[in-house]
Symmetry: C2
Subunit: 261 residues, 2 copies
């Protein structure tokens, strides 16, 4: 497969195909709670909201929260799946645009990752994300016990996270489940969430690294740094079997046998 083909403006790549919102998996499943959209209006404005995804497994991880006008809808979508806000261990905002991080305050007790910043309460950790190292959620390696002082309670949390030395190392070695990786370009500090072991293979929940399945004509104009983003997109296409984009349906990356090198 010519991985660069999907990155060039042109007709839709037949090797990228939209799929449904639910991807079972062991130990993690991926569900799209809300499919993002981005619709230009005749007056020059744009109606937009982002894709919101829920990962369920040893930890419960919400990736992007939608815009601040949609908090009731988000709570409803979570409750339809039996998830209360307090059940969410980690919230990832793939980048700091308002349609992605509008509802962080619904999850004050969660570990919050926005771009490359990782925080628990007002304590910001040295994540290594800005330096290109992945941040591993729920690995089989390490346990970090953190004491959070929140709302007059001391909460003892056991979020299992650890760090790795190279950007994609976690995908190949000790972190077998879920990791956060820097995928900059759309902004200077975007991250994506990589989930291994689903029924469809490796899923990358990519924020606005990809706008939608066939975004060849649109993503550059929304990018702070198209050259950097193009590199991030190529890496993601190389790793992923499925990509969940920021403003469209999830899509499958079909590879021909022996291709992709």
């Amino acid at each position: 497969m010519d991985l660069a083909a999907a990155l060039r403006p042109g007709p839709p790549d037949p090797e990228l195909r939209e799929i449904g919102p639910d991807i079972p998996g062991e130990p993690y499943s991926v569900s799209v709670l809300q499919q993002g959209y981005n619709v230009p209006q005749s007056d020059g404005s744009t109606c937009a909201d982002c894709t919101v995804s829920l990962l369920r497994g040893p930890s419960t991880v919400l990736v992007d929260t939608g815009g601040p006008w949609g908090s009731e809808r988000l709570l409803q979508r979570l409750r339809e799946r039996g998830v209360e806000p307090g059940d969410v261990h980690v919230v990832v905002g793939t980048h700091g645009h308002s349609d992605h991080i509008g509802n962080l305050s619904l999850f004050p007790g969660a570990t919050i990752i926005v771009g490359c910043d990782v925080s628990r309460g007002d304590r910001y950790l040295e994540s290594g994300l800005a330096e290109g190292r992945p941040f591993c959620i729920d690995s089989h390696v390490g346990f970090i016990l953190s004491i959070l002082h929140f709302r007059h309670f001391l909460l003892l949390q056991t979020h299992r996270m650890t760090y790795f030395n190279s950007k994609w190392e976690a995908t190949e070695s000790k972190c077998k489940n879920v990791s956060v990786v820097a995928t900059p370009g759309h902004t200077g500090r975007d991250v994506s969430v990589l989930v291994r072991g689903t029924s469809m293979g490796t899923v990358i929940v990519a924020g606005d690294l990809f706008e939608c399945c066939h975004d060849e004509d649109t993503w550059r104009e929304l990018s702070e740094n198209p050259a950097v983003q193009e590199t991030s997109r190529k890496e993601a296409l190389r790793m992923a079997d499925v990509i969940v984009p920021g403003h469209g349906a999830p899509f499958q990356v079909h590879r021909q046998l022996g291709a992709g090198s």
Copy 2:
């Protein structure tokens, strides 16, 4: 005054002096609801939250919201001043870091400005901020009627805003009160809020363009683009009588007569 002096690493500049949290003004006052902090910990983490400011006048404007762990405190600080969340017309997140935009969902009916993106509900306007034009709040020039569909109600809002052609034009011509201007560098899309006519002159609520009054030794390491940020800082120091920084007390910029050219 050597404007560049405050930008060089070195001893504190005696011409920058911290002041109190309340700045009366006509038509706008500026109150710091929460003074930001940034305290490195021995384990390599950092405890931080941002400065939260309230502008009161023809419109009520909240500049930065603090981290998502602090929503109850923010609501309390607003209520102490007789402000309910629904009274806030405009919320500005100076940039998309989690300690600045953690509580947007408390204000679902407000116009939301995060970095260079301006939205009302899921409708994103062409603000011109990313192209360097200021966005004027509450000018005497124009009225934009916008119909917001929110929580099953149609709300008719009359937020008085308009656009200007050059970055600082609003400070010198028709927009006499409050304008949002792009001041990039800390991230790619930072904005600051400029308030004219206070009892202390022109106030710039600057987010992390300035960390605190004497940040000469710290701001660069937190910057995505120090060269761009240095330019933004010089422009702000040239315009402001008072600067409200992202992680410290407001400070006054004292100018000697005949200096500053």
